[in-house]
């Protein structure tokens, strides 16, 4: 960072967080004077502040260059790599999905939606019927035109007994997908749901050709055509010359994975890759101090936590759960484990990233050993076994921290480290105390519906609160903002705190983590959509090389 002394700083010299503040400010329409006043207030000289704002403005306004090649390394791949959108579960799959396919709707950085393959979509008055008008100028990679049949087929794969879709629960409330004409489809819902477009923007709902059962060639409509697909090795996409909109900026992308995080970071530092997923927060300082590379950090509602199953001991004892909640050193986790790349959690899955649906008037539980001791004593538990797999970066460290605090209140919290493979099938939701990690979902309703509804298949703690379930469905039809906020707030309190009669969900959520990724300074045009790594996997079509 010594070079800063010699010239005026630009936005590239700032830390990721500072840069984000400024760029977000500019994007939201803050004017130059406002941004400069923040910077000067933060201690920058007028000249430096001016220079920073100018460069930030340039970065936002620069026109993409065409050409070049981008190499992206994810954190996980293997023989289970798939080009079947319905089976996608990993970042590398989602990224491939965005490269070779399109969705009906696309999610913006602020989680609103815009049309993609649907040139327009609209709902009836109570959001219980959605109509999608499909673009007429779209061709699959094999040259055949996109029609309503393809959309109907793509959607049908998420229904029925034979469906292996990993996202079928998200669209379970669509009663029927109906073809209206050759380029119009209608979704008839069981009840009102304003979230359907944003759900259709999530990775699994990519549009494939009618009748496709074999996915090795990725015959989609996306910005790249598949040149090579070697599971566990790499995939290569070439720019789709017949794309229906402006199309990708780079000529070729290579999608691979480097599973070892130190090796992955090394490859970024040495310039062997241009983009990397999952940068260890501890390495941020090093990456920011190395010229030519930078950090891409996006705050989100993703979280990790400890699940105390509510149907069995010790989690069926609300006092035990409270004790675990009070021993959490939430700020310390943000500072030490996540190195600032996260926000404090309050045992509530919905944080500020979900906007208005977040309940702001709950008080965050502070680290309080006296309260913890009180609740532990009341619960009578002295020993508990916590099953931990590193399903999200930092979760093991968080549990080790909890273990030390537990010792101070007289709880012997034994940590049993279990392998990641097989974790979801054999440990999660099966052992009394385990850990979980969730990506952010496009709306509070979707998130709560997936993991907290009484009948949700992935209800982490088997928490059955019928009233909560009823409210969750009811709120979808509420259009009055105040009423809606009030309902969401009550639901979040049910989860986080509970009442004497209806205990909380048994979830201990100490932190929400940012998506922290690494990128070469030569790559621009990456979005900040908070639903996944590197701006929600949206980059393949929009990023570009400054040196192209």
């Amino acid at each position: 960072m010594t070079e800063i002394k010699n010239k005026l700083p630009t936005v590239a010299n700032l830390s990721a967080t500072d840069r984000e503040t400024i760029e977000t400010g500019l994007r939201r329409g803050a004017n130059r004077r406002e941004v400069m006043s923040w910077l000067i207030a933060a201690g920058a000289s007028i000249a430096a502040a001016g220079s920073i704002v100018t460069s930030a403005g340039e970065a936002l306004a620069a026109t993409p260059k065409k050409g070049g090649r981008i190499k992206f390394a994810s954190d996980l791949h293997g023989p289970s790599d798939t080009l079947d959108p319905g089976l996608n579960t990993s970042t590398i799959d989602y990224t491939r999905g965005r490269s070779f396919y399109n969705s009906l709707c696309q999610i913006n950085d602020d989680l609103s939606t815009r049309p993609e393959l649907a040139e327009e979509f609209s709902a009836n008055a109570d959001n219980s019927e959605w109509t999608f008008k499909i673009r007429k100028d779209v061709k699959f990679h094999d040259g055949s035109p996109l029609t309503a049949d393809d959309v109907i087929y793509s959607m049908s794969r998420h229904y029925g007994e034979k469906s292996t879709s990993t996202a079928k629960t998200l669209v379970a409330d669509v009663k029927e997908w109906k073809k209206v004409d050759s380029h119009t489809v209608k979704a008839i819902m069981q009840g009102p749901n304003a979230d359907l477009p944003v759900i259709l923007g999530t990775p699994q709902f990519k549009i494939i050709k009618d009748g496709t059962t074999e996915f090795q060639t990725a015959n989609g409509t996306g910005p790249f055509t598949l040149k090579e697909f070697s599971p566990g090795v790499r995939s290569i996409g070439v720019r789709n010359k017949h794309y229906w909109r402006e199309g990708a900026n780079v000529d070729e992308i290579e999608i691979t994975a480097i599973t070892d995080k130190v090796a992955r970071t090394s490859a970024l530092l040495s310039g062997d890759i241009d983009l990397m997923q999952a940068l260890d927060p501890k390495a941020i300082k090093k990456v920011e101090g190395t010229s030519g590379v930078g950090v891409w950090s996006v705050a989100s509602g993703a979280y990790f936590g400890i699940c105390a199953m509510t149907h069995t001991a010790p989690g069926n004892n609300p006092d035990f759960v409270k004790a675990l909640q009070y021993i959490q050193r939430r700020k310390k986790i943000i500072k030490s484990v996540l190195k600032g790349q996260g926000t404090v959690g309050n045992d509530n899955p919905i944080n500020v990233a979900y906007g208005a649906d977040h309940c702001a008037d709950m008080v965050v539980k502070e680290h309080d050993l006296d309260k913890a001791k009180f609740h532990l004593k009341k619960s009578g538990v002295t020993v508990a076994e916590l099953n931990v797999a590193e399903v999200a970066p930092g979760i093991t460290d968080t549990c080790l921290l909890a273990q030390r605090e537990a010792k101070k209140i007289g709880l012997d919290l034994q940590i049993k480290k279990v392998p990641n493979d097989g974790y979801w099938g054999a440990v999660w939701m099966k052992t009394p105390l385990n850990v979980v990690s969730w990506n952010m979902r496009p709306s509070a309703n979707v998130m709560l519906n997936l993991a907290f509804a009484p009948d949700a298949p992935w209800n982490d703690t088997l928490w059955k609160n019928e009233r909560f379930g009823k409210m969750l469905v009811e709120v979808r039809g509420v259009t009055d903002a105040a009423k809606r906020a009030e309902m969401y707030c009550e639901m979040q309190k049910m989860i986080s705190e509970g009442t004497d009669e209806f205990p909380g969900s048994g979830m201990i959520i100490p932190a929400h983590r940012n998506y922290v990724d690494g990128k070469s300074d030569k790559v621009e045009g990456i979005s900040r959509m908070p639903l996944g790594s590197l701006g929600g996997y949206e980059w393949p079509e929009f990023c570009w090389r400054t040196d192209a």
């Binding site: 034979k162 090795q216 599971p231 130190v262 530092l269 890759i273």
Partner: protein, 315 residues
């Protein structure tokens, strides 16, 4: 001799079968199945059932095993239960990569370590011997992921001489390939040579204790000559054994080096297979590893017999 080799091949086939049963049983004893792993956190009982039905995982275990065995015997390796690609397409490129790297490492490390082992044995207790002892021990006692990571940080990140990941894509030029493979090569030579050096030294010193060497010493034959002409040939049996085991390791056991350098080889593929419970894939890899091992051991035994006349006609 020919009969013996023929016998050993038959035995090798038995070994292959034993391995296939072992791998089948062990993989099935692991918690979770391929459907649970692939669908992961997003699994529901219905989607699990659908996945199992789609991939034939709902059939009885024995049925699955014999189905695999039958396909295997007709040369059909099947398809991956995890991703749906054919096993042969998954393996093809990686097999070449693995054999290429293993051969390169062997070509460098075997002569090097036998020579250094001989050198140490010729001058036991001297500074040459001590230096070799310390050097080899220091190198083998450090975990390979430490050496590999250190090499990446030093040679790729700090100096920028070599790429951090082993680029061996088919479109690369020879020079790119050479640069890409340099680091895994260096690390593996270090890892395997150390053990071979030590065993060569120990083997030779052991033979130096035999009566006929004593006779040769008493007759006044020069030491170098004794070691090179007499002791060495009598140590070949054990030494080729150690070499064979090390070569087998190079084919099947270099998971960590493959992981850190992102070198697409078979060892990592098999670990991935185990971690996704992808039985046909694990079986195919196991068959390749076991086959390699069997061939190498037969070669080692043949070499041992050729080198020691007394083993040719055991009484």
């Amino acid at each position: 001799m020919q009969r013996m080799v023929f016998q050993r091949i038959l035995i090798g086939i038995v070994t292959l079968w034993v391995v296939s049963v072992l791998v089948f049983l062990m993989t099935n004893a692991l918690p979770g199945d391929v459907a649970q792993i692939v669908l992961g956190q997003s699994a529901t009982p219905e989607s699990l059932a659908a996945y199992r039905a789609e991939r034939g995982l709902d059939q009885p275990l024995l049925f699955q095993y014999f189905g695999w065995l039958g396909d295997m015997l007709t040369g059909n390796l099947g398809t991956s239960k995890a991703g749906g690609a054919t096993i042969s397409s998954l393996i093809a490129g990686r097999l070449g990569n693995t054999m290429f790297l293993a051969a390169l490492v062997a070509v460098i490390s075997v002569p090097l370590s036998v020579a250094l082992g001989l050198l140490a044995a010729m001058y036991p207790g001297t500074w040459i011997d001590r230096a070799l002892t310390f050097g080899t021990l220091a190198l083998i006692s450090v975990p390979d992921f430490f050496i590999a990571t250190f090499a990446v940080l030093f040679l790729a990140v700090n100096l920028g001489w070599l790429p951090a990941i082993a680029n061996v894509a088919p479109e690369n030029t020879f020079w790119e390939m050479a640069r890409g493979i340099a680091m895994p090569l260096i690390v593996l030579v270090i890892v395997v040579a150390a053990q071979m050096i030590r065993m060569t030294r120990a083997g030779i010193l052991n033979v130096m204790n035999s009566p006929y060497i004593e006779m040769a010493i008493l007759k006044g034959v020069r030491r170098k000559r004794i070691i090179l002409r007499h002791a060495f040939f009598n140590t070949i049996g054990p030494i080729v054994n150690v070499i064979a085991l090390n070569l087998a390791y190079l084919v099947s056991g270099v998971v960590i080096v493959e992981t850190i350098f992102s070198y697409p080889g078979l060892a990592k593929l098999m670990i991935d297979g185990v971690q996704t419970r992808d039985l046909p894939l694990v079986q195919a890899c196991a068959m390749i590893f076991c086959g390699t091992y069997v061939v190498l051991i037969i070669l080692a035994d043949v070499a041992a017999i050729l080198a020691n006349p007394r083993l040719r006609n055991p009484k």
